[in-house]
Symmetry: C2
Subunit: 358 residues, 2 copies
DNA sequence: ATTCTGTATGCGAACGTTCGCATAAAGTCC
DNA sequence: GGACTTTATGCGAACGTTCGCATACAGAAT
């Protein structure tokens, strides 16, 4: 309601044409020192802010990037969502962009319809896509319509679109090598179903590390399931029931939740995680450090990924070509805690950290 | 790049003026059955989508709602973020609105500057605000400029802006009454510092419940701190050191993280949470159910809150007045698990739930 | 003096809508 | 059958920018 200040009013005050003001503000033209000064003074005095809508109507740029993600099921938290979003927001803000977030629909047609609407109405200039299954129709849609986007995660064809992904294979390799260093020789894996691309990629690292150590991976060491606490729990009971001499002494899980299940199963079997059986998770969710014992886990450098994704995407929008590298695989980090190396002190000290007050 | 279809082309095809097409599409006028049909056919055939930008330039509505929240510290997850966002997205979508999310800056001036920019550029029509401290400058700014917003959470003055909040006092009252029902008489609280509005509100319920049961709350039963795991841990050790006969037999914590710390402390003291000492958390974060023993906690109906907030806000934007009730306090729910009632079965069954695969 | 180059600014049009008012045609009334 | 309401559609203007081209005026070169 506070009447909008427009270019014309600024122009009047600076005694130039409003078009000149526009050009000076968007640095499109060189004017004399004196007028430039007058214009900026007028802008300041009137507290002028260009109208976003008028601007983007004319320039066909919305300065907005769309993002949608699959919500996690009610019994789980997405451990990286907050960090990922915030890192993207910040990077976008630095370049004058904002993020438009929109709901995720399992129903494919509905989801596609939103993408289409956002594109057709001109609300967004590009997307970030993170929910990448083997066969992601939204991706095909965007590729087909040559609409810009970057992926957090990738599919098989490395050239089809620009992405950043965590090197899951490397992560598992590091995890297994850490266990080998500790003397473990029989290492089991709590894996995802074999149709999971991300899961298979991670398992490659598991097999590679064992192979390099001259250890033959035994099929009974690999348990597969949906990545829940219960799968971790029951799979671990099965692993512990394997005959002596073949029974694993350590377990790597494809996510923390299965690792939590594994630790519970180990404890209920009268064994101690970290002393009798080593356990490693994946994601380093914040609760991992509060487990008993604290869980060794593989951490993804989320903030860096979010920032880089955004900068690469905006780089493309602003210049027309993707900055190198177009695609990138970043190394995760192994966060070592007591679930693999055992207890060090008797008092758990987790550092002084902020509260979660709203 | 695929050339934009405009009103004029639709109009040409339907042999009417383009203004008529506009009016028919936005249901602003009544036309004959025949032309209406022709227009919609043309729209369909040409696959016309109105330009969002042109529309909002003319109508001064961006159909966009801004939201920013304080990121949680790296060692914690915001247990409700995903659910809250998704519920708002969905409600907004149903009314043609989208959410613009933007970064949170601790530095006040920077944060205010973003709000100002979003308002002045006309990028958003309203805000949702959830980070409500006693003295929130962004709120004052919005109130002062009469810019629409709703709060998740409220401040002292109930009339200053529309909000929905969880009745924290009721939550604690329910928790304490649950413990009383189980026979506990000496109940301690892990509280937030006394300058926390939300914290004080919750504690009111604690005192009220004890009072109603004719129990005098003892000051040594209330431990205050920043809501971290460590605060929960060390505070609990202090509580357990209280002389026999006064030592609490149950503990309610203002958040789950402190409750986790409490359970660890209890265990390390050789006691069993849920059998020797009852423990209750607040938030019902997804990990609560995976603790050993699973944690009884107070759950906030986040999806409902997100949906209602959004609908109320959009109701205001579309009609000019807030639907009743302008402000609302919703009841939380006590989720009872073994940390208060003890173990029931030996096998933990947590239900079949989806994986967290990306 | 005349033309030439260059810099500083102005002008008109366009982006794709919405909105109020004007107008034409058809129907109602006495 | 003319005046009067009603219904269906058209028209012009406006929203606040950006952008290409035109133009004015200086000073340098011919």
């Amino acid at each position: 309601m506070p009447k909008r200040i427009t270019l014309k009013e600024v122009a009047a005050r600076a005694s130039v044409s409003y078009q000149t003001v526009s050009k000076v503000i968007s640095q499109k033209v060189h004017v004399s020192e004196a007028t430039e000064q007058r214009i900026w003074d007028a802008v300041r005095e009137l507290n002028y802010t260009p109208s976003y809508t008028a601007r983007s109507l004319r320039s066909h740029r919305s300065m907005t990037i769309g993002y949608s993600w699959r919500p996690s099921p009610p019994d789980q938290t997405n451990p990286i969502l907050d960090e990922f979003l915030q890192s993207m927001f910040r990077a976008a803000e630095n370049h004058g962009y904002y993020l438009l977030c929109f709901p995720y629909h399992d129903e494919l047609q509905k989801q596609l319809a939103i993408y289409r609407e956002l594109i057709n109405t001109g609300r967004v200039d590009a997307f970030v896509i993170s929910t990448l299954n083997y066969n992601e129709p939204c991706v095909s849609y965007l590729v087909e319509h040559k609409f810009p986007f970057v992926g957090f995660g990738h599919l098989d064809d490395p050239d089809s679109f620009p992405y950043i992904d965590v090197d899951g294979a490397l992560g598992l390799q590091m995890a297994v090598e850490h266990l080998l260093d500790l003397g473990h020789r029989r290492i089991a894996a709590l894996a995802w179903p074999s149709d999971s691309r991300v899961g298979n990629n991670r398992m490659d690292g598991y097999f590679l590390a064992l192979d390099k150590a001259g250890i033959k991976a035994r099929p009974e060491w690999v348990e597969r399931g949906e990545g829940t606490f219960d799968v971790g729990f029951t799979s671990t009971l099965k692993l512990l029931a394997i005959a002596d001499g073949l029974r694993p002494t350590a377990i790597v899980a494809m996510n923390d939740l299965m690792a939590f299940g594994a630790m519970t199963a180990i404890q209920q079997s009268g064994l101690r995680p970290g002393k009798d059986i080593g356990v490693i998770g994946f994601d380093d969710s914040p609760t991992a450090r509060y487990m008993d014992p604290p869980l060794t886990s593989i951490r993804q450098p989320i903030s860096t990924i979010g920032k880089n994704l955004m900068e690469r995407l905006i780089g493309y929008l602003d210049t027309g070509t993707y900055p190198d590298p177009r695609c990138e695989l970043v190394a995760p980090e192994l966060v070592i805690r007591e679930s693999t190396i055992g207890k060090k002190t008797s008092q758990p000290i987790h550092g002084k950290e902020d509260a979660d007050r709203r």
